[in-house]
Amino acid sequence: MKKKKRKFTLSSEYVLLIFTVLCVIMIFVTFNTKITAGPLRGVASYVLVPLQKGINQIGSVVSSWSDNLTNLKDVMAENEELKEQVDQLTTENNILQQDRFELNRLRELYELDEKYPDYNKVGARVIGKDAGNWFQNFVIDKGSEDGIQVDMNVIAGSGLVGRVTSVSSHSATVLSIIDDSSNVAAQVLSTSDNCIVSGSLQLMSENKISISKLTDEEDKVTSGEKIVTSNISDKYLPGILIGYVDQVSMDSNNLTKSGTLRPAVDFAHLEEVLVILDLKKGTEE
């Protein structure tokens, strides 16, 4: 990026002009085409990724100390609560076991196994988060050399986290579904009604994301319903759990519904994620 040394020095107005033109060209080029500054980012990654890893570890140690102190009281109270819950869950578990046997039988019956294939996954660590307060991108420590490509889906635990938006050799940037600019085509698991799940900066502080364009003619969708990725999405694999419906209400057009959902993933404490190495078919032509 630095200019070659010459005998005369450019005045700052010219430098500003040159850089401005350069940036505007870059914005248009990267916005309108699929060209990315991959190699440049690769160079930057070689320097920064090891540093980020190290500092991140220090940061998480410090935060876990402070967490420990503040959490001790909460943990004691929680312990009591959990003991009660254990009893409750034991009974619930018995019922679920019965349900599982039934499910297995039904799956065999309908050969639904094909619908939920075992994807190849690779684990990755979150090593950096967006530098500002506006967006919820983060950087993971696996890149193209570990087989990661753009548009691969990222999950954590059981739920969807987001998708990879750019890759260099040893790191990749992930756009999370709670980001304000993220939209996911989804469906309600029980009724297969389609909807759009989009992140929102406003709802983020309540740990929710918004649902819109939900067609629910029979009024069946209630709070607690599971929302999964839809098979019509062109970037997300079908059937990945996104979260649970919080509340829905009728839109002013009386045709569709919108509302909020609670994501299945705890985005505030995201440390390890899984990247699904299978791309949705049809995206590569």
């Binding site: 500003l16 850089f19 940036c23 870059m26 410090v62 307060n133 304000d180």
Partner: protein, 176 residues
């Protein structure tokens, strides 16, 4: 090592450290959602301490780092940071080394304008019209955090700059 080379390397390291702090440690340690914007402090400081040109270069580099790691189309942040550095350069003549008021005003202003630009271009243009919400919950908290951090951090930057300027004077004297 020549003193101008020393300056470049020092600033380079300073920016890298700020970038790393901003996207790793602060996010983990601070409990709120808000992170102070150290890169704006650096860009703005070198703008009014050293003039338009150096502000421009520092801003360019800060913005480029963010673009490379977090932006989907490259150049957007570079452009913003570069102009912030450049505009701060206009205040060089009003800047006195011991005065803390002007730096505080300029850094606060820069961070506020930075927040507004991001809001307009990446939220307002996508139809997020609840302006007051974003001001109250993102822009103002960020500005306040940045100001608090600046009270300490600006002194560090000023000390670094003084050291560098002393070096430059000494090496200039040697040649004369």
């Amino acid at each position: 090592m020549s003193s101008s080379m020393k300056r470049k390397i020092t600033i380079f390291i300073l920016i890298i450290i700020c970038f790393l702090l901003q996207c790793t440690v602060f996010k983990a340690v601070i409990f709120t959602h808000v992170v102070p914007n150290l890169l704006i402090v650096v860009t703005s400081s070198f703008g009014f301490m050293r003039g338009k040109k150096e502000g421009l270069y520092v801003g360019f580099f800060c913005g480029m780092l963010i673009d490379l790691f977090f932006c989907e189309f490259y150049g957007f942040y570079t452009l913003i940071y570069m102009y912030i550095g450049y505009i701060n350069g206009f205040f060089k003549n009003m800047f006195y080394d011991d005065d803390i008021k002007l730096p505080m005003v300029l850094i606060t202003g820069s961070d506020f304008i930075y927040g507004c630009i991001i809001y307009v271009f990446s939220f307002l243009l996508r139809g997020r019209f609840d302006t007051w919400y974003y001001f109250k919950n993102v822009i103002f908290p960020e500005v306040i955090y940045t100001v608090v951090i600046t009270l300490i951090f600006y002194r560090i930057i000023r000390r670094i700059n003084r050291k560098l300027e002393e070096d430059e004077k000494r090496s200039a004297a040697k040649f004369v």
